[in-house]
Each structure stands twice: as structure tokens, then as C-alpha cells.
């Protein structure tokens, strides 16, 4: 339409952050940009960051909500450290996010929101759009609200409706700047506001005026193109961590031929798992929103006793409430998966922020000797595998399993090479139906798993419960030697899982100066930092643990191949404690609990601190 005389520069990767007030629709804007970017064939990683309050006071620093995305023509692992573009819809967003913007990075600001009142709320003494605060950056300050009102002038909309669609203006401008199509968002808007055609129209007009603004305004000299990334061949979609957990569990349910039963209680950031599973009733998934965290896991234990794949998901405080019931699942040896989407703690802590400080709770947070396998998801996509694997172990070993994820992987998203159900392995269960004198605690040799006799099966009547069992008959027993033996057996069974999991293979140097050992969502930052260090000629490797209990069999041997072991964690050294204790080595920790993931440069300097620049 317009004769585009502007330059198009090709770049390899870009980091954008949309930031604004909680009411400005930044999460929606970010996820729309993500959808489009995924379809354009870039690799990407996202980081939504929002306040715990649903409606923090408008314009306040506490009310800033942001969505960061990195996209690239290369394979990337993190949402990026420094920003190329900061969309700052209001002064508070500028205040809280400016420090992350690169030198000479682009700021896009909606002037309309930089009122005296808002400036004061955000702690700006003068208007940074008008003085030299932002020197050295490329500032594009414009009155989006005014432009959008012009665009919808003939529609007779309230000023509230108009200002609500300024996020679409910003999105349109970013689409233009990075050469993306508006089609996906247009069809999204048509669907979302199907019942309110005036909103479809106003949002689309806002989106388009943002797009055309880029084309026409002189302040912007060029747009950018990020070529497609070279992915492995196959069919892709974008997926979020919590969604991937649900799909992995549903896949495991099908592969084990055990119905999925989910019992949960609303808690941030795990609630989406309840929402998503509740939406799949046509898969015969049964979901139960219980009266509390304890009832949630108890219902799951009841369902598991009756032959379901029992699932519950929560976050740290919820795990604390469930811990007695987890012990019951250990002693009755029933298959369930307990998902902990970790968040900042202790207590209520920081509900929407990420942390990895529940590892020791997962391993040890119960009365008595109560070993439970622990698996951690490292990326949004890995949530699928980790969930499937957790369910496999639960069923094959007749045990509760803890699956650790965190707010960062749960809410983050990335492209997913969609697997085919056909390619996923079958999961064997220990269901017995023969009806001869059933012994509930008879174990098989391979896994030491007990037989699973389901109510409704003739001849299998038996009792289980929280009291110690006789090793042979399964009847209640207070015999001292038997108790010792049963405790041993419960440990042996969990340790045997190591026979069924892959050995760990470090990425990078097979031996050398430093091994960076991680678990969970630190994967992307560690992998990127280690790759950079390798490029810089350092003798560095990365090993990432998916299995925290038991550890892969060869872990001890691998650790001995490096002079230093560095363990970055978003806690004060929990894996570090386990590694030092088990392998008696002087591993070093790199620890932070900011409620935010590690940046690549933080890991890189951690490496430098040990082996020098």
C-alpha cells in the first residue's frame, strides 16, 4: 500500500519487553507477539512477569506487568538478558524496566500516560520523555491514545474502550518493526470478541494504525528482519510449561490405560493445570476442585487406590499441607504425581515470582523415612517429557513422584516439536486381576513394585493404610526387624529407579576445568553461558539433572572429571548440599533468589570468578 522506502536490516536475535500497568493488557500483547513469531519460524523463549495483586493501584510501581520475548534465527534457550526494545506504556513501567535496556536500545512510550500524576506515582521528578534522562537511547514517544481515538472517531466509543486498545497499537507497531504479519492477531481478535463486534473493529483499527505508524513516521528509520531458525524437521506449535505438563500427563494416562484423575486446589502459579485439565472432559479426564490442599491429594490417593493415574499440582505452601498425605502415599505405595510449580517462599512469599527453593522439601519434607522420586522440568517443552516420565515412574514403581517445575517454566513458552502418540512408549502397570489370595505387598524383582489390586476385582479384597505393614502378608505389624526391613525396601525401590533412567552426558568438554551442574529452569541460562565460554576458549561443560532422586548412576564419576563444580540455583544451595553430602566434593554454589531467572551474564561471571577471565 504505502511505498516502503525504509531500510530493512537483518538481525540474528532480538529481545523485546512489553511493560505497562496491570490493566494495560501486556500479557495479552506479549502472547500475541509470541504466537505470530512462532508461526514466522523463529526460535523463541518468553518470560511473563506480573504482580500477585489482581488490580494493584493504577500507575504504581507495584502494578507493573511485563512480558519479555527473545526470538532468533538461531536456536536460543532463554528470554534474553538485555533488551533491544522496551515498550513502556506508562512512567512506572519505564522506571522499573529501564535498567535492563541495552545502550542505544529502543524505547517506545505512550506519551498520553505520562501525566503529572503518573510521573509522581512512579517517582519521576521530571518527565523523562522530555529531559535528557533517556539520552543514549532511541526514544519513540508518541500519543498512542490520541492516534487510536482518531482511528475510531466515527465509532462513538467511550474513552476507556479507546485507551484499552492502545496495547494493540503498540503491538501493531512492533509487528511493523520486526516485519511480522497481523493476520494471526486479527483472527484472534475476531474470535475473542465474537460477541462484541465494536471491540473487534476498534482493536483491529488500533493494531493497523500502529502498523502504519511505523511505515509513515520519520522517527523510525528502519525495520528489522529476523530470518527463520533452523529447526529439526517436523510439525511445531508454541507451548507453555503448565500446558505441556497437562499434555504429558494425559499422554501417560493413555499409554498406561489408566484414567487420569486430578484433584487440586487453586494456587498460583499451578492453577492453570487445574484449568487446562478441567477443559478436557471429552478425554474422560476427571478433575476435582477440592476444599483444600489436603483434600486434593487425599482424593487423588483414593482414586489411585481405585486404579487411576492420580495427579495433584500445587506450589510450595500447598506441598507443606500435603506432606502428611504424601507419606501415606509412600507407605501405601500408590502411583501418583505431585506437581510443585515452585514460587518464591517461605510462607506466602512471592506468589507470582520464580524460585527453586523447594528441592529439599520435595526430598525430605515428610515425617519418618519417606523417600520419593523427584524429577525436574528444565524448559517449557521439557515439562511434557518430565510429566510423562514422572507418571511412568509412578506406575512402574508404584510410588508417588514429585515433579518440580517453577513459575518461570510454567508461564514461559517456546516452540514444541509435536510428538506423535505412536512414538511414545507404553507404560506397564502392576494391576493384578487373577483373584487368587491377593497379597498387596508382594513385590516384583525388577522394580520391587507391589501388586496393584483394584476395588471391584473379585477375590482381591485387601486393606491398606498408614500403619506399618508386614513385609510378606501386608498386615499391620509393629515388629522391629520388619519395620527396619520395610524402610530399607522403600529406599531400595526408589534407588532402583536409577536402572531405568539415562546416564548423564555433559555438554562441552568431556573433562577439564569446570562443570556447571544445574537442575530445573536454570537450563537455558547455563547452556547459553557455557556455550559462550566454550566459544571464548574455556574448558567448560554443562550437565543438567532431570532426576534429583535418584541421581543418574554415573553422576559421581562425571563430577570427578572436572577441577571445579559450579552449581547455580535460585535458592541458597540445596542441590549443592546434596552433591557435597553424597559425593564429598567441594562444589561451589552460585545462588540468587530475586524471584527472577538467572541471566546468561550472571552465570558467565560465575564461571569467570572461578577460572578467571
Amino acid at each position: 500500500m504505502s511505498e516502503n522506502i525504509k531500510k530493512i536490516k537483518e538481525v540474528e536475535k532480538v529481545v523485546i519487553r512489553f511493560a505497562g500497568d496491570s490493566g494495560d493488557g501486556m500479557q495479552l500483547t506479549g502472547s500475541q507477539f509470541t504466537e505470530t513469531t512462532a508461526v514466522m519460524g523463529n526460535d523463541l523463549a518468553t518470560f511473563p512477569d506480573f504482580p500477585a495483586e489482581i488490580r494493584a493501584p493504577a500507575g504504581s510501581l507495584a502494578g507493573v506487568s511485563s512480558f519479555q520475548i527473545q526470538f532468533s534465527s538461531d536456536i536460543i534457550q532463554t528470554p534474553g538478558d538485555d533488551l533491544d526494545v522496551l515498550v513502556a506504556m506508562n512512567p512506572a513501567a519505564l522506571k522499573t524496566n529501564l535498567q535492563d535496556l541495552k545502550q542505544s536500545g529502543i524505547i517506545i512510550a505512550n506519551k498520553a500516560n505520562y501525566s503529572k500524576k503518573n510521573l509522581k506515582l512512579a517517582g519521576w521528578e521530571t518527565n523523562p520523555l522530555e529531559d535528557d534522562t533517556l539520552m543514549g537511547y532511541q526514544l519513540i514517544a508518541l500519543d498512542m491514545t490520541k492516534i487510536v481515538s482518531h482511528a475510531v472517531e466515527d465509532m462513538n466509543l467511550t474513552s476507556k474502550t479507546v485507551s484499552r486498545s492502545t496495547n494493540m497499537f503498540a503491538l501493531g507497531l512492533m509487528f511493523w518493526l520486526y516485519d511480522r504479519s497481523m493476520d494471526s492477531t486479527i483472527s484472534f481478535l475476531n474470535k475473542k470478541f465474537a460477541k462484541r463486534p465494536e471491540l473487534v473493529e476498534s482493536n483491529i483499527r488500533a493494531l493497523k494504525s500502529g502498523y502504519h505508524y511505523g511505515d509513515t513516521v520519520e522517527a523510525i528509520q528502519s525495520s528489522y528482519k529476523v530470518p527463520k531458525a533452523k529447526f529439526e524437521r517436523g510439525l511445531y506449535r508454541n507451548i507453555m510449561g503448565n500446558q505441556a505438563v497437562c499434555y504429558g500427563l494425559m499422554a501417560a494416562s493413555q499409554k498406561s490405560k489408566c484414567r487420569l484423575f486430578y484433584g487440586g486446589y487453586p494456587i498460583t502459579p499451578a492453577s492453570d493445570i487445574l484449568h487446562i485439565l478441567s477443559n478436557h472432559k471429552n478425554f474422560k479426564v476427571k478433575t476435582f476442585q477440592a476444599e483444600d490442599e489436603i483434600a486434593a491429594i487425599m482424593s487423588v490417593i483414593g482414586a489411585a487406590y481405585c486404579g487411576s493415574l492420580g495427579i495433584t499440582a500445587t506450589s510450595g505452601p500447598g506441598i507443606a499441607l500435603k506432606s502428611e498425605a504424601m507419606g501415606l502415599a509412600v507407605v501405601t505405595e500408590l502411583p501418583l504425581v505431585i506437581v510443585n510449580v515452585q514460587r518464591g517462599g517461605p510462607s506466602t512469599g512471592m506468589p507470582t515470582k520464580t524460585e527453586q527453593a523447594d528441592l529439599l522439601q520435595a526430598l525430605f519434607g515428610r515425617n519418618g523415612e519417606a523417600p520419593i522420586p523427584v524429577i525436574a522440568a528444565s524448559t517449557p517443552v521439557d515439562c511434557f517429557n518430565a510429566a510423562f516420565e514422572s507418571a511412568r515412574i509412578a506406575m512402574e514403581y508404584m510410588t508417588p513422584v514429585v515433579l518440580l517445575s517453577d513459575a518461570y517454566v510454567a508461564n514461559g513458552s517456546e516452540p514444541w516439536l509435536i510428538p506423535s502418540m505412536e512414538d511414545l512408549p507404553e507404560i506397564e502397570t502392576h494391576i493384578k486381576k487373577d483373584g487368587t489370595k491377593f497379597q498387596p505387598f508382594k513385590r516384583n524383582e525388577e522394580q520391587l513394585a507391589r501388586d496393584w489390586g483394584l476395588p471391584g476385582t473379585p477375590g482381591m479384597e485387601h486393606r491398606v493404610g498408614g500403619l506399618e505393614k508386614d513385609e510378606h502378608t501386608g498386615n499391620v505389624s509393629y515388629d522391629p526387624i520388619n519395620h527396619h526391613r520395610m524402610t530399607e525396601l522403600r529406599y531400595e525401590k526408589i534407588n532402583k529407579i536409577a536402572d531405568s533412567i539415562p546416564e548423564i552426558v555433559p555438554h562441552g568438554a568431556k573433562s577439564g576445568d569446570i562443570l556447571v551442574l544445574g537442575w530445573g529452569s536454570t537450563y537455558g541460562a547455563i547452556r547459553t553461558a557455557v556455550n559462550e565460554a566454550i566459544k571464548d576458549g574455556k574448558s567448560v561443560a554443562h550437565a543438567h539433572l532431570s532426576y534429583l532422586n535418584p541421581f543418574p548412576k554415573n553422576l559421581g564419576e562425571i563430577l570427578l572429571k572436572y577441577r571445579y563444580i559450579l552449581i547455580p540455583e535460585m535458592n541458597f544451595g540445596q542441590l549443592l548440599m546434596l552433591i557435597r553430602n553424597k559425593y564429598l566434593i567441594n562444589a561451589k554454589g552460585l545462588n540468587k533468589v530475586h524471584g527472577k531467572p538467572f541471566t546468561v551474564s550472571e552465570i558467565y561471571s560465575g564461571i569467570n570468578d572461578i577460572i578467571g577471565d
Binding site: F231, R237, Y247, K281, S299, P455, V476
Partner: protein, 337 residues
């Protein structure tokens, strides 16, 4: 298919090989015997019974029944039973609990199972004391109850279990007594027949820690005067000479002396479906000058939770078709590389 066909099931089929470990003379024995007697008559294959309990003396119950059983943790039996019933709605699920287990630590789960109305039978063995932990007062102990933890008498006001159950939306609320075997037998069957959560409170004597708590209801000389036996459609009369009855005076239940201060026509006829009557009757729990109602206090037909859930699942399948994971994964924006 049952190995033992239902008609040939006998009491013996429900006796497990475990030694019963309650104190000799405990009221629990009589209840166990009644349950073992009733189960073969219910027309349910043996393998479809599931008994779930929490913690406490009564909660040892599942070990003594040769059925599927789960001795869970303190207060949580109703929550576990909820999951079991949802997972397999064909089961006949029975929860055995006590006043500490259900009214104290498990209070939350107790009210919520009643609200949801799963088709589960709850037997509350109420002995108004903690037995297994050796004699502390419980949420149903009367005020002033002297126990190890209340040497000067408890100052707590007790719970009134049937009233609590009514308030929580219970659809079957009844009371029996461990010593009234025939009556209890009847109530167990009625509880089973009710579709929805059945709540049966059973007064149970703990002779070790709270002996005689219900003596006035069980002693031969007294009980005719203290038990108000409720029968559907029958006037609420009691007394050795059947000369007393319940009547309404200015909206309140009063004891009337038939032929003296009132006529037979003044006596209320029991209607299980009348919730206001149910509330008034449950109010008579341990009330001075009044008899204690025994029998079905309230009954209401309402579809149980699991039925509604299964309907939703069926409807979802009807509308969307049975789910296919491959197409679910490929749903929405996808792209090929």
C-alpha cells in the same frame, strides 16, 4: 462378576482374618457385627464394597472387614472416599469415622462431602471423647466434661453433629445407638439405600474414657422416656405409656402430655422431608427436659455429585467427540519445518 454370588454371601464372608483389638466391651463391636450382618443383604457383590477410615479407635474398622479397605490419616477419610467414588462410581463406599476424626481435624472435609452429596455412607461413631489418644475431651463432649486435658471441666460448647450436617446441606441425616441393634440394622440399610451422602451418627459407648455418656438413652428403665424414635408418617410420641409427644407451641417444639395438656391431634407427624422439622429435631440433642431423637431426622433426594460429573463427561464427548491426543497437540497455530 462376584466369585461368591451375592445371594449366597453371609456374615462370615465379611469377617477378616485379623484379631479385633478394641477394648473388650467397647461399643464398636456391636456396630461391626451389625455392619457384617447387613452387608450380605444389600445385593452388592463383595468386591464392590470399599471401607475408608481416618484415625481413632473406630477407624480400625476396615481391618476387621473382609472387603477393600483403606485406613487413611486423621480426618481425611471423607476426602479419600470422594476420590475413590469419583474414580469408580460402581463401588459402595463407606466411611467410618469418629467424633475427633470427623468433627475436629476433619471438619472441613466433613462439611464439603455433605455439600457435594457424593453417594457415600458416613458412619460417625460418636463416643464424645478421644479414645486412642487416651481420654481427652472431643468437640462433641458436653460442656464441663472432665478429662485429662480439661481437669476443671471443658469450657467448649460442643458440636451438634446432625445439625452441623444439616447446615452443610446433608441429604440423609440419621442417628442410631450401638445398643439398639435392630434399629441400627435398619438405619444401615436406609443409609445404603439413600442415593447421596448418608450421614449416620451412632452413639457409641467408650467405657474406658467416657463410660455411661449415653446411659440415659440405653438403660432399660430410662430409655422409653428419653428416646424419641422417629418413624416416617407417624406421630412423634414416646414414653413408657406412649403418653408424651412433640408438639409445636408458638413455633417451638414442646413436650406435650397427651390427654393432659394436649390432644393426640396436636402431636407432630414425622416428615423426613421437612427441613425445618429436621432442624428443630436435631436441636434436641442433649437438651434438658427433652427426649433425644433417634432414626432418620432428614432425607432429601438430590442427584449425587459423581452422577452430575459423569453426565458432564458424557455430554462433552457427545458434543466434542471422544478426545484424540494427536489432534489436541496439533490444535491451534502450528507450522511445519
Amino acid at each position: 462378576m462376584s466369585q461368591v454370588s451375592e445371594s449366597t454371601l453371609t456374615r462370615k464372608d465379611f469377617i477378616s482374618d485379623q484379631d479385633v483389638r478394641w477394648c473388650p466391651g467397647c461399643g464398636d463391636y456391636a456396630i461391626l457385627a451389625q455392619v457384617q450382618k447387613v452387608f450380605p443383604d444389600l445385593g452388592i457383590p463383595k468386591e464392590n464394597f470399599l471401607i475408608v477410615s481416618g484415625i481413632g479407635c473406630s477407624s480400625r474398622f476396615p481391618y476387621y472387614m473382609d472387603t477393600f479397605g483403606f485406613h487413611s490419616i486423621h480426618g481425611r477419610a471423607t476426602a479419600l472416599a470422594t476420590g475413590a467414588k469419583m474414580a469408580n462410581p460402581d463401588l459402595s463406599v463407606w466411611v467410618v469415622t469418629g467424633d475427633g476424626d470427623a468433627m475436629s481435624i476433619g471438619g472441613n472435609h466433613f462439611i464439603h462431602i455433605l455439600r457435594r452429596n457424593l453417594d457415600i455412607n458416613i458412619l460417625l461413631f460418636n463416643n464424645e471423647v478421644y479414645g486412642l489418644t487416651k481420654g481427652q475431651y472431643s468437640p462433641t463432649s458436653s460442656q464441663g466434661h472432665i478429662s485429662k486435658s480439661t481437669p476443671l471441666g471443658s469450657v467448649d460448647y460442643p458440636f451438634n453433629p446432625p445439625q452441623l450436617a444439616l447446615g452443610a446441606g446433608g441429604t440423609f441425616i440419621a442417628r442410631g445407638i450401638d445398643r439398639e441393634l435392630k434399629h441400627l440394622n435398619q438405619l444401615l440399610k436406609e443409609a445404603h439405600n439413600h442415593s447421596g451422602t448418608s450421614f449416620l451418627e451412632i452413639y457409641q459407648n467408650c467405657w474406658v474414657y467416657n463410660d455411661g455418656a449415653f446411659a440415659n438413652l440405653t438403660e432399660k428403665e430410662l430409655k422409653m422416656e428419653t428416646q424419641l424414635i422417629l418413624e416416617q408418617g407417624m406421630p412423634m410420641i414416646f414414653g413408657k405409656d406412649k403418653d408424651k409427644g412433640m408438639r409445636l407451641v408458638k413455633g417451638n417444639l414442646e413436650v406435650g402430655m397427651i390427654g393432659k395438656d394436649c390432644k393426640m391431634e396436636d402431636i407432630l407427624v414425622h416428615d423426613e422431608k421437612n427441613k425445618i422439622h429436621g432442624l428443630m429435631l436435631s436441636e434436641l440433642t442433649h437438651k434438658d427436659g427433652f427426649p433425644t431423637p433417634i432414626g432418620i431426622i432428614y432425607r432429601e433426594e438430590k442427584p449425587p455429585y459423581e452422577e452430575l460429573l459423569l453426565n458432564q463427561i458424557q455430554k462433552a464427548i457427545q458434543i466434542q467427540g471422544e478426545g484424540n491426543l494427536d489432534s489436541l497437540f496439533q490444535n491451534g497455530h502450528t507450522w511445519k519445518v
